[in-house]
């Protein structure tokens, strides 16, 4: 039985994926899997190919080799829209919010896939269209409540402090009600308190909605505490994979980390 929070069977499988930009190899023959409901971390020094890995998973980049199995379907290259449709959502390392829009609208945009009323219905805001809007507004409000950003609902995201923007970014991803949530350095550039909050939210998400989470971080510290299993990348190669303690004690990992400075 795999209720929310308890890891279940494999949801995502990455098999021998390689990616290079004009000769430069970003990812080199990487394989790993992610189980339902688990928090899976991909760590590694900067430039280890972590972000590229995410971008491959949700189809922003197209790998030259390898394939991806998600929810039983196999892809040689995903495309972002299909990924979104299948329930993969993500946040961005350097917050990619919609600057010109309010917190609410940013998160409503996350519901776009689910909103179906036609252009004509919207133009005249016919009953159906309006009811749809309200239905989704309610869903979004629950997330706003969950992330404790009620006070900023109608503020343009540009005006929010960095930490809150990160939260809204997460909120937008959650608004998609994803099966798989990709977090690209969710704690980058945060102070200790903000990091603790973010950890809490990540765990709560995993816990309340049973969302499977893949997150990237470059510093081991925080991640080790909140993730069930960890993949370690270095220069595009996989140098470690397992539960935090195994990884922490692995020589290859230690070397890789001694090599880099923080």
């Amino acid at each position: 039985m795999s209720g929310p929070g308890t890891p279940g069977d494999v949801l995502l499988e990455v098999e021998g994926v390689s990616l290079s930009f004009g000769g430069v190899t970003a990812i080199n023959d990487i394989s790993f899997d992610v189980r339902e409901h688990e928090v899976r971390a991909i760590i590694g020094p900067n430039g280890a190919g972590k972000s590229s890995m995410l971008n491959v998973i949700n189809g922003v980049y197209h790998p030259q080799q390898g394939r991806i199995r998600f929810a039983g379907e196999t892809f040689t290259d995903m495309d972002p829209h299909r990924a979104a449709k299948m329930g993969i959502s993500r946040t961005f390392q350097n917050i990619a919010l919609f600057k010109g829009m309010s917190v609410l609208d940013n998160m409503m945009a996350g519901r776009n896939l689910r909103m179906t009323s036609g252009i004509f219905a919207q133009a005249l805001r016919l009953g159906g269209a309006e009811r749809e809007e309200i239905r989704h507004r309610e869903a979004v409000e629950r997330i706003i409540d969950f992330l404790e950003i009620q006070a900023h609902r109608k503020t343009p995201v540009g005006r929010l402090p960095y930490g809150l923007q990160k939260r809204v970014d997460l909120g937008r991803a959650l608004a998609m009600e994803p099966r798989l949530l990709l977090l690209d350095e969710p704690m980058a550039g945060m102070n200790l308190e903000e990091k603790q909050d973010m950890c809490r939210f990540i765990l709560d998400v995993n816990d309340e909605f049973g969302t499977t989470i893949v997150l990237i971080e470059h510093d081991m510290g925080v991640v080790m505490d909140i993730s069930d299993r960890v993949v370690v990348l270095d220069y595009g190669r996989k140098i470690g994979d397992g539960v935090p303690d195994q990884v922490r004690s692995s020589q290859a990992v230690i070397d890789a980390y001694l090599g880099v400075t923080h």
Binding site: F21, S51, N55, V60, F92, A96
Partner: protein, 333 residues
């Protein structure tokens, strides 16, 4: 290879189009060459204006919609000044004015708008061009003026030996072409050999890098805009000399847009070759393809050259967005 196929096809079609009149005998070789030369002539001028665009784009990432206005302005300046003083003096003063203009633009437009998104900058240059049009015509007057180089306009026959009937060309056209070519060569030298030139290229590649090797961006902008201004001046004179200095110059100069699209925004050779392609292309299309259109669709006259350049550029955009010589980039997340 797969990526290049459409481009190759497109080029093939163009070349085919270029030679059909000869093959089908729709035109006498002599006339064909005349048209070709005419096209090249116009092309050289397009290249000149396009060159200005490319310089500015390389250095400041700004797409200078005002290039046309600059051409008009410079031409007007020379035309009106040369009424009161010797040509060389007029040109010198005009150059001075264009440099001054560059300084003003850098101060009042570029600096405040630094690292805004390109669209904003494009619109700003739109504003500049409007201002310049108005200003130029208030300052110098809005009528049609002549620029006299003292080169006779009477046509000469050349290559009678090759084609029966020979080919008609105007001396001043020749002169203009030569001037233009000379200028292009000069710029090429400037970019390859001089320190500033190399600096400019550095900026184009990477602003941070440029600053790190100790070049104040602002000065670079001034230089680039000045150079562009001088290029515009030359273009304006050549052109003005040909069809008289008037408002339409600004419109004609718009043709530089498709040219750079074709050649790629950041490539000097691209600008030149693009210019020639467009010049020849639209002339040929006008002369040989136009009548066919008119006949088949019963049009009220041809005038294809009004849009040919743009549609051609559009076609290129669709098959090769980065242009002939531009390099493509992947945007990271």
């Amino acid at each position: 290879m797969k990526r290049h196929l459409p481009v190759i096809l497109l080029c093939a079609v163009l070349t085919a189009g270029l030679f059909t009149p000869l093959v089908t005998g729709a035109s006498s070789p002599g006339f064909w060459v005349e048209v070709l030369l005419g096209g090249l002539m116009a092309g050289v001028l397009y290249s000149l204006v396009a060159l200005g665009l490319v310089l500015i784009f390389k250095a400041s990432g700004v797409f200078n919609f005002a290039q046309g206005a600059m051409v008009l302005f410079a031409a007007l300046a020379v035309a009106r000044l040369s009424e009161k003083m010797p040509m060389w003096a007029a040109v010198l003063i005009a150059i001075g004015i264009m440099v001054l203009f560059a300084v003003v633009v850098e101060r009042l437009v570029l600096r405040p708008l630094v690292n805004q998104e390109p669209i904003a900058l494009l619109m700003a240059t739109l504003g500049v061009s409007y201002f310049l049009d108005g200003f130029g015509q208030t300052l110098w007057g809005g009528d049609i003026y002549k620029i006299e180089f003292g080169i006779s306009k009477d046509p000469v026959m050349i290559l009678e030996s090759l084609f029966q009937g020979g080919i008609l060309v105007n001396k001043d056209d020749m002169a203009a072409a030569l001037v233009a070519i000379a200028l292009v060569a000069l710029l090429a030298l400037f970019f390859q050999k001089t320190a500033t030139g190399r600096a400019l290229r550095a900026v184009a590649d990477d602003h941070q890098a440029a600053q790190s090797i100790g070049i104040p961006l602002n000065r670079i902008w001034v230089i680039v805009w000045s150079v562009a201004g001088i290029v515009a001046l030359v273009a304006g004179m050549v052109w003005g000399g040909k069809l008289g200095v008037q408002f339409s110059l600004a419109e004609v100069a718009l043709k530089a847009l498709p040219v750079v699209i074709l050649g790629g925004f950041e490539s000097v050779p691209g600008a030149i070759i693009g210019g020639l392609i467009i010049g020849v292309g639209e002339k040929m299309a006008e002369v040989f393809f136009g009548p066919v259109l008119v006949k088949t669709f019963d049009l009220a006259g041809g005038g294809i050259e009004n849009w040919f350049a743009y549609v051609l550029a559009l076609a290129f955009l669709l098959v090769r967005p980065e242009g002939l010589f531009g390099e493509r980039r992947i945007d990271r997340v």
